[in-house]
């Protein structure tokens, strides 16, 4: 599956997500179609079970959050269940796509399909600067921890808030410098 053309995988993933999203609002046998396809593809793609479950668990917080909103509706229970299943299936489809296709290949494919350059540049920059931001966060957390002498929960929450604030300021500064560096190499 890793060797398959990125274009085919991308189209298949988008079709599967679209099909799942368009399923009825209550659980029917049709839900079995994407479920079976994804459960068959999972071992074929050789994605480790723990890896997949961990990432699904991270997304679960948001999925349950969205699902809870449906409880405001009079026919709450079936809606909640279908939203839950649909969201999980869509996330799983995307997980399989990202497991088998490097992000760079996805971007190249989208470029071949004439997706807007600004959108692709934004995605590419996001992919490039995630590790840089992660490293910056780790450095700030360590530096803050080295000067934190209280185990109070309030202090630790204050530290998290400070780090997030600093990260925003630093990211804005970095964005400015990146823009200048791009202009210096002819970006129009």
């Amino acid at each position: 599956m890793h060797q398959a053309a990125p274009g085919i995988k991308l189209v298949a993933a988008v079709l599967l997500v679209t099909f799942t999203a368009l399923l009825p609002r209550h659980l029917t046998w049709l839900y079995l179609v994407p479920t079976v396809i994804l459960l068959v593809l999972w071992p074929v793609c050789r994605m480790p079970i723990i890896y997949g479950l961990r990432r699904l668990l991270v997304a679960e917080l948001f999925i349950v959050g969205i699902g809870l909103l449906t409880l405001l509706h009079p026919t709450a229970a079936p809606l909640f269940l279908s939203a839950l299943v649909k969201s999980n299936l869509c996330v799983l489809a995307m997980l399989l796509l990202t497991w088998t296709t490097p992000f760079q290949q996805v971007l190249q494919q989208l470029r071949r399909w004439y997706f807007p350059t600004v959108m692709l540049s934004t995605l590419a920059l996001m992919c490039r600067y995630m590790p840089v931001l992660g490293e910056e966060t780790r450095r700030m957390t360590r530096a803050r921890a080295s000067r934190t002498f209280s185990s109070k929960r309030v202090v630790s929450w204050q530290n998290v808030a400070l780090i997030i604030g600093q990260l925003f300021v630093r990211s804005a500064d970095r964005a400015e410098r990146i823009y200048l560096a791009m202009c210096a190499r002819g970006w129009k």
Binding site: R128, P131, V132, R174, R177, L180, A181, A184, R185, G186
Partner: protein, 257 residues
């Protein structure tokens, strides 16, 4: 000799706080000449370098103050100027914007309209020039600091600049990385301007230096006599380099290299 760069009466005030960052700066750099720009933190070195690439001022003024190979910087020729002046930024992570080394080196030439096999050959050639042949598919965030800097340099060289402008090229490099990067810079043709605190680098590479302090040029001239002037160096937050400080015991007058 024709000047690769000429700066005449350049002044700049930061719009945010009104502080005068550059005050009547004038100097020139000949073709194939390497000039060091020295000064304490906040002297205006980086601001000056941004002007050389037309990244500052925010709005290009109608009266030019900078000429690149005889061409005055104006709003009509920004792309030409940015192609002629290759600017290497201080933090490689600001400059490495793409997901792979190949894509990053290809970024500048793509803006100039190069694509396909010609672009691929140029990227390979530039990576070879900086000693990173075979790094095309590597991800920038997995490279060492020295390698990142070399990729940045390859990306700048790929635009075929006539003037290289380097902002603190050896900061954050270990001694070996610094030595290797210095050797690499020595092999590069064309005029170079190096803004740095690494005075040994200046002694080894630059025939002439310009000393900035509080936005003004306080001294300029040949490197060794100027950097040997200890009172001048101390007055402007600098130090006499070790290679000029210690004389070789068996060769009086010979600086250690």
């Amino acid at each position: 000799m024709k000047a690769a760069l000429e700066v005449r009466n350049l002044s700049y005030r930061y719009p945010q706080n009104g502080r005068l960052a550059l005050d009547q700066i004038s100097f020139s750099v000949a073709e194939e000449e390497c000039v060091g720009v020295l000064g304490p933190n906040g002297a205006g070195k980086s601001t000056l370098l941004l002007h050389l690439n037309a990244l500052l001022p925010e709005r290009i003024v109608s009266t030019p103050a900078i000429w690149i190979s005889g061409e005055p910087i104006g709003s009509h020729n920004l792309q030409l100027i940015r192609q002629r002046v290759g600017l290497l930024f201080q933090d490689p992570d600001d400059q490495l914007i793409s997901a792979t080394v190949f894509e990053d080196v290809a970024f500048g030439p793509r803006q100039l309209g190069l694509e396909g096999p010609i672009l691929a050959a140029l990227v390979r050639q530039c990576l070879g020039q900086v000693g990173l042949a075979g790094f095309e598919e590597r991800q920038p965030h997995r490279l060492s600091h020295g390698e990142k800097r070399r990729v940045c340099l390859a990306g700048v060289l790929a635009c075929k600049p006539s003037l290289l402008v380097l902002d603190e090229p050896t900061s954050d490099l270990d001694p070996r990385g610094r030595r290797e990067f210095k050797s690499l810079l020595q092999t590069l043709p064309g005029a170079k301007i190096i803004a740095t605190h690494d005075l040994e680098l200046v002694v080894d590479l630059c025939a002439r230096v310009v000393v900035l302090d509080e936005g003004k040029i306080v001294a300029q001239g040949p490197t060794v006599p100027l950097l040997s002037d200890e009172p001048l160096m101390l007055a402007h937050g600098l130090e006499k380099p070790h290679s000029l400080l210690h004389r070789h015991p068996h060769g009086p007058g010979m600086p250690l290299r």
